[in-house]
Each structure stands twice: as C-alpha cells, then as structure tokens.
C-alpha cells in the first residue's frame, strides 16, 4: 500500500496518535496467501470464529456471522481450522 508520511511540522505534539484504533486504516489483508471463504448455508452461527480470529476480521451483521473482512484478514486459517461444521475453506489467494 502507498501512504504519504507527514513531516515533523504536521505531526501532533509529542507524536501522539489522536484517533483510537486507527490501525483500522492499515490494510493487513495484503499479507494473505490463503483466503477464507465461508459457506453461509453451512454456518450454524456458533460465533466461535469471531472469538478466535486474532485480527477482528469476522464480520458480524444483525448478530450473525457474515464472512470475512478481507481488508484486515491475514489468512491465518484459524477460523477454518476451528469451525465445528467446516463452513470455512481456505483457498489460494489470487493476486
């Protein structure tokens, strides 16, 4: 990803970061080699994947699992490994 860096005159005093959780603007999805694909028909909405995803990349919509956030998902495969009904497949990422 490309980003323009601020010079010292434009940075907040003390180098403070003024927005909590702004790592959200940094896309770790580019790290992926494998991509999780969810079969929502198979999913029983147990939410285990939400608990165990280290990158906060399980999307929840109306209280239900709704696939992955590919901007941040690193493709670690944890969700696919732990899903009790094997609703998630890891497939090779196409770049």
């Amino acid at each position: 990803m490309t980003e323009t860096k601020k010079g010292w005159k434009d940075l907040p005093i003390g180098g403070n970061i003024l927005e909590a959780g702004n790592s959200q603007h940094y896309f770790t999805g580019t790290w992926r080699t494998y991509k999780p694909i969810t079969d929502l028909d198979k999913c029983i909405n147990c939410l285990q994947c939400w608990m165990f995803c280290p990158d906060n990349s399980i999307v929840i919509k109306d209280g239900k699992m709704d696939g992955q956030d590919y901007d941040h998902c690193k493709g670690c495969g944890v969700c696919a490994a732990i899903c009790p009904v094997k609703a998630i497949d890891m497939i090779k990422e196409e770049k």
């Binding site: 909590a20 959780g21 790592s23 940094y26 165990f52 906060n56 495969g77």
Partner: protein, 317 residues
C-alpha cells in the same frame, strides 16, 4: 453481565484489526478475552514486547483504550503509578464521573515478567495496588528473535539455546511464576489458556473485579518461536492442558484449585495424555524425536509430572 458470544459480539472490541502481530497469533485474542470480560473503563499499560511493538507501529495504534508504554522492565511500576495517580485525583475530585470506576491492567510477555520485570511486579504486588497484571507466556523473548527466557521449557531450541552435537536445547526447567506471585499473598491469581475462552474470561472478570493486585498467567503459543503453522494454536493449547504441561489453576483467598480440563483430569474424568503429544507438532522440539535425544522426552515428562503433582496436591487431590 453474562459471558455469552451473542452479547459479546455487540460490544466495542478493545483491539482493532490492522495491527501487525503475526497472522494467527493468539495474543490479540488474549487481549480481547481479558478486556471484554467486564464493562469497566480500562487503562492499559504494555511492557516492551511483541504486543506493544506490533499494535502501535507509528502512526497507527490498534487500541481502543487509553494505553501507555514505558519500558521493558517496568510495566507493573508504570501501571501502579497510574492507579495511584487516579486515586489521588479522585480524592480532589478531578476524575470525571464516567471514569471513577476505571480498572488498571498491565500486559507483558514472559521476558518482561519472569525475568527483567520481576522486581517491578513484586513491588506492585507488595504495595497492594488495585490492578491486574496479565503475562502472556509465549515461553521466550520472541520480539527480538526467539531467545530463551526463564519460562522456556526444557528441550526447546532457541537462538540462545541452540541445538547441536553437544546440545539438546534448553537444559533448565521453567520458573514457577504462579507460586512466586501467590507467595505475595495477593487476593487472586490464576493460569489460563485462550482455547478455553470461558475459563479465561471468567478468570479475567474475577481478576478485574477483585480489589487489590491480581495476576493472570496466559498460555500463548508463538508461530515463529515454536515453529508451528498459523492455524493450530487452539488445538495445541488444548493439548498443552490435556498433557498437564499447562494446568488451569486458580489461587483465590489463599486457596488453590484446578479448573476446566485440569479439574476433570485430577478427578479422573478425563485422561491425562503423554507430553509427547504436545511436543511432537512443534519445530522447537523436533530434534527430540531422534534416537540420540529421545531420553530428553522422559526428562520433560518427569518435569511436567512433578509440577502437576505439586499443584494437584495444593488443590487437595
């Protein structure tokens, strides 16, 4: 508040995506379990280590709580100072109402806890600050490239205990930190593991809600450090507990008990499996599965049994 996934998914997550922890690292899950176990406002301190470095790469931070990093060796002192300052400001009416009930939580790796941060931790426990200290134990100095710590187990191959014709890896046993912490007679201390999220979150909630200093020792498999694939830590943590390599222990008001799978094993309701099952899937122990080194597996089994029998005894079995 009941700890159910249906409730938890509606709450503010403490650590956003976009952090730079390794893919599949359980440490962000540990942070989530600890901080989501109660609704209190929280102020977090972080010792130097993977969690600190990789969640705050400038100009980004993954944290949704007030957060401070000071140094490698002093997170307990830093957080205890914040707690003391909060109390002083409260007394003169300078703490806003919504922050009155704030909780103070320190996170550190095993290097920052068992080794360089031990005296800072001991001091904070002795002074009796109202804070929780969480050690995520990945059994080595991982952020600087996998050096051994006093939490590294016997037989592990690290960059400072390298294997070779004369070496099978680390020769010393793990330091028993939980007993050292409990010897400060604090009100609450426990060991837990992220695979058993209910055990972990119940203990986190108790630790946060208990008045006085409290301590959690968290199992934390490390992908590059243990040389494991990125998707196995949940299963591996479960195996660590089922082999009694990592018992789930609680120390509350001076009494020891076992929880989760460890309780079932102690009561004979679940089999205790050989430590080999835990060792065999990890690259850091691969060299032990040779004719030359297989006696080390027996040494490790004896070490595990000794510690397990000790804690089982403390828990009254």
């Amino acid at each position: 508040m009941a700890l159910t996934l249906k409730d938890l998914i509606n709450k503010q997550i403490p650590l956003n995506g976009g952090h730079r922890m390794c893919g599949g690292c359980p440490v962000p899950v540990i942070v989530k379990q600890v901080l989501m176990s109660t609704d209190h406002p929280k102020i977090i301190g972080n010792a130097t280590g993977c969690l600190e470095v990789a969640t705050t790469i400038y100009p980004y931070t993954a944290w949704n709580h007030p957060w401070i990093h000071n140094a490698f060796e002093n997170v307990a002192a830093t957080v205890s100072g914040i707690e003391a300052a909060h109390n002083a400001l409260s007394r003169i009416g300078e703490v806003p109402e919504h922050n009155k009930d704030a909780k103070f939580i320190a996170f550190a790796g095993d290097g920052g806890t068992y080794d360089i941060g031990l005296q800072s931790l001991s001091g904070a426990l002795e002074r009796g600050h109202n804070m929780l200290y969480v050690c995520y134990d990945n059994e080595g100095y991982m952020n600087t490239g996998i050096q051994r710590s006093s939490a590294t187990p016997i037989g592990a191959n690290t960059t400072t205990t390298p294997i070779g014709s004369e070496s099978y890896g680390k020769t010393q046993s793990r330091k028993d930190l939980l007993s050292i912490v409990a010897a400060h007679h604090i009100p609450y201390a426990a060991s837990t593991s992220p695979h058993n999220w209910m055990d972990a979150m119940k203990k986190s909630k108790k630790a946060i809600e208990t008045q006085g200093p409290t301590f959690l020792l968290y199992f934390a498999p490390c992908i590059p450090g243990w040389k494991i694939p990125s998707d196995v830590w949940k299963k591996l943590s479960e195996t660590a507990v089922k082999t009694c390599f990592w018992p789930l222990i609680e120390f509350e008001d001076g009494k020891w008990s076992l929880t989760g799978e460890s309780k079932l094993i102690a009561e004979g309701k679940m089999p205790k499996i050989p430590v080999e099952e835990f060792l065999k899937s990890q690259g850091r122990f691969k060299h032990l599965f040779t004719d030359k080194n297989k006696h080390v597996i027996e040494i490790i089994q004896k070490d595990v049994d000794k510690s397990w029998n000790y804690y089982k005894g403390l828990a009254g079995y």
